[in-house]
Symmetry: C2
Subunit: 429 residues, 2 copies
Amino acid sequence: MKKIIYPAENEWQEILKRPASFSDMEGIVKEIFKEVKLKGDTAIAKYTSFFDGVSLPDITVSPEEINEAVGLVPEDLKKAIAQAKKNIETFHSAQKTEKIVVETTEGVTCWLEKKPIQKIGLYIPGGTAPLFSTILMLAVPATLAGCKEIMLCTPPDMSGKIDPAILYAANLCGISRMLKVGGIQAIAGMTFGTASIPKVYKIFGPGNQFVMAAKQMATQFGIAIDMPAGPSELLVFADSSANPKFVAADLLSQAEHGQDSQVVLITTSARILEEVKKEIILQLAALPRKKIAEKALENSKLILIGSTQEAIAMINEYAPEHLNICSTEEEYLIDAIINAGSVFIGNYTPESAGDYASGTNHTLPTNGYARNYSGVHLDSFLKSMTFQKITEKGIRNIGKTIEIMAEAEGLQAHKNAVSIRLKSLADEN
Amino acid sequence: MKKIIYPAENEWQEILKRPASFSDMEGIVKEIFKEVKLKGDTAIAKYTSFFDGVSLPDITVSPEEINEAVGLVPEDLKKAIAQAKKNIETFHSAQKTEKIVVETTEGVTCWLEKKPIQKIGLYIPGGTAPLFSTILMLAVPATLAGCKEIMLCTPPDMSGKIDPAILYAANLCGISRMLKVGGIQAIAGMTFGTASIPKVYKIFGPGNQFVMAAKQMATQFGIAIDMPAGPSELLVFADSSANPKFVAADLLSQAEHGQDSQVVLITTSARILEEVKKEIILQLAALPRKKIAEKALENSKLILIGSTQEAIAMINEYAPEHLNICSTEEEYLIDAIINAGSVFIGNYTPESAGDYASGTNHTLPTNGYARNYSGVHLDSFLKSMTFQKITEKGIRNIGKTIEIMAEAEGLQAHKNAVSIRLKSLADEN
């Protein structure tokens, strides 16, 4: 952890630089996309064997496998998942919006209505931590939005299995199609469609750098994605009212995500800075993922700053994925923060609450994308369409305006489409 | 125009295929991006000279140029622009949404709030048709959303000038920074920032294939874009209640956009099909952009179909940018259409109304993107952020759930962030 005391504004950009990732994955992603497009399931099988070390006669998860998974998940975890699911449902269903109808000019009625994206693909990574929580975060709003086909891709382990908690959560959320396929090949499969993987319209979910690069590539083939992504990050703003033990625990919870995670403390209190630093060292010692967290802490900063106002400017410049605010001035901060993915306010609001159970979504813009992207929310599964209906009176009211503008843009046929109607109305009279 | 009578469902995909564009522009886009990143304004000047044939000492539009433009725009056009602007403002300000606040569990309050994207870049193409209407469509909602910096890039003509209607509309909308720069170099400039072009967070606006490829490239550098784009298109669904003259005029208004535009008629009436065909030929003869429209009509289809229900399936499969509905069953159609950018209903609702003046936005998803992308609307200039505040009671209520889920995902530090708070509360009692 690097301690930085009262940095000048011209140093901010350098201080807040995110750890760079240099590996260029375009080549391998292009190659696998090409092969999956050309050879479909044969290519899927080849890369599943290559990357996951397993050959599967059928990649579709069977009802028997789901039943087995349901039996394997402990009761207390089932209860926890149920509470989390309920809160996520409550918060996301409150995000439903009504049709917006406006008569902009007499006889000219315009409306905006959201309709569900019909085919959704969810990607859940494999590996040591089975991210069943992400299934709740994606499948719950997709279902509320009314998406018609929701399918899941997740890589099998070397024995061809999926973690039971993942299958349990997917089944609970009503996902009817679960496929054992991961990595670049899964994203390519959902992009082009194969005999066993349906083509989707939008792909959601986290993944390693290969999966991220593959999702970016998918956009070149007309597929939408939830958002571009980078390593996870947390910024805590704390004044002297903060509890240094809690702050340290929050910073560590983010640091354990991955070696490339970044955690930042900005504080107006020199005492808090020192105490948080001590607490981090104390708490770190007991963590099972200590090695990962230690590595992440190398990229991390403890920053002492002159004023809350300066802190706000710095936070908006950094645009953190997660922002914890532990300050007596929280109202002022909430208003002034423009760029952040999700904000956690007060001493009893750990970031991990939002990761699992409070109801907010944990799929959030990293890497500064909070400047220009939303986190996943109900609207991520919908698209806005507009409608308009113009009466005879309405076209009389705005016809002239359209004619003049179309003519000025040199688009005579655009003008004609109005003139022919106005003439017909004039002829009737 | 190709006439297609009662096509079988397995032929639809082939029939509805959009005209392909084969040119690969990645090489030139990459090269210009690299040079603009490295050399800034020097590269901008080089490519402006190369592509636009003009050398400019200063690319910023001066107050004198704006004053001159204001003087050059005819009064009737000013009035037309004022009416259009008012309607666009009315429809887009109705799209404002309130903060959504929910207590998901006692003591756990979550809310979602939209905040404006701070730095917006608008791109308006040059060429024969000065698209001042697009400035209204982008700058009006950007202003309503509260975006802080809104700037405009548009290419100069060979004498270094911008069309007066463009400068007039931009000035009317309060855009304070207008730059004479176009093409790939403009998009690269807004992506990296140069001495004279500010870096932005999101780029909006139409353009030729080079501009589109450049916008796609910009997303690889963390910049958001309004949406991917292709040639413009219109699908008309007409039953025997339609007016064939009006339908023909609408189809032609879309066909005049560009040689690669596509127009499609789907009708349940053989009579309407024949009459529309005749009318197209009649009306085409008088058009100044006849050559362009003729070329576009080569890609176009007149389809006779067995039922409204079948038509709906075909429309949802095609996902048109613009959809006109002239049918006695309009209510049924409005409900059943899932994939379309903007829908125009009834005999007196020409598509050109939405292009200019009714109030809906004309920046819409083409090329089938209506399946997974929204057209531009107020939210395109905002991003959703979530917030949460948990009380002592709240963390007692959901703490256990978070602990169990974090542990099951193998994330001990996530669990600790809760445990340390629960312990502190227990110690207090």
